[in-house]
Amino acid sequence: MGVRALTQEWMDAYKAAIQADPEYKDIAKNWEGSVALVVLPDPAKGIPETVYLFQDYWHGDVGEFVVCDKDKAESAKFVMTGEYARWKQIARKELDATKALLQGKLKMKGDLPYVVRNIKTVNKVIDILGAFETIWPDEV
């Protein structure tokens, strides 16, 4: 039984999956800073309002993982914004996150050279995003 995407329960499951990953700690040892994922509304797919997700990462450890408000999301060191359908495609590995960024399907605010320097960490975290069972709002 999966958890419903974009809820606090889902964030908890995501955090647990990252913590349980045997490679994550080593790959992310140089990463410091919070990341916000912003999911743009898509009422037809069960997302009536923008969803803001805040995640805190620090040298291989994971801190706060919460569904939050706009202000908190915008306080993150990196903010990644995309349509619901794109995030779902990324989680399902139907769309590569780097490709989505270069195609403008995802937008990122933050220190881009830092992200490129730590692209393995980003790829790992995104890889884990699709590693646990998720119930998507448009499939309920």
Binding site: P113, Y114, R117
Partner: protein, 139 residues
């Protein structure tokens, strides 16, 4: 500090924004790269087939213009996929030159040998390629 140095005229190509931001941020964060940037004269095209994005970078000593498509006759044309182009930014610079004997460098060499990454003009214009690698490297 880098105002006006990077002019993006390829606004219909989202990749061009990433390229411009990467270049501007790199020059701001590592001002020593400006010396190299100021010495680049040449035209470099980047063709990302998988996302159908082609841009041309026209360097004119301290300034670069990014244009959509292939403009004129580029000195260098880089042809690869979007997931591999990011790897080019991870090449380490040692003693002022790109270093190909670590993981990132070896990956690029492997991609060139396998044809996943094609760099037309690399033998004719090694100085432009070296300088481009230096200013684009985030390492």
């Amino acid at each position: 500090m880098t105002e006006g140095m990077v002019v993006n005229n390829a606004q219909d190509v989202p990749f061009s924004y990433i390229l411009a931001e990467l270049l501007e941020s790199n020059l701001e964060q590592k001002p020593h790269k400006l010396r190299t940037f100021n010495k680049i004269y040449g035209v470099v095209a980047i063709d990302l087939k998988d996302i159908e994005a082609i841009v041309t970078l026209i360097f004119s000593g301290g300034r670069v213009r990014i244009e959509q498509g292939i403009i004129g006759k580029p000195d260098i044309i880089i042809k690869t996929d979007s997931d591999k182009v990011i790897g080019l930014n991870s090449i380490t610079i040692k003693f002022g030159l790109p270093y190909y004997f670590d993981e990132a460098g070896m990956t690029v060499i492997r991609q060139i040998l396998s044809g996943e990454l094609k760099i037309e003009g690399m033998l004719l214009h090694p100085v432009i390629l070296t300088r481009l690698t230096k200013i684009m490297s985030v390492m």
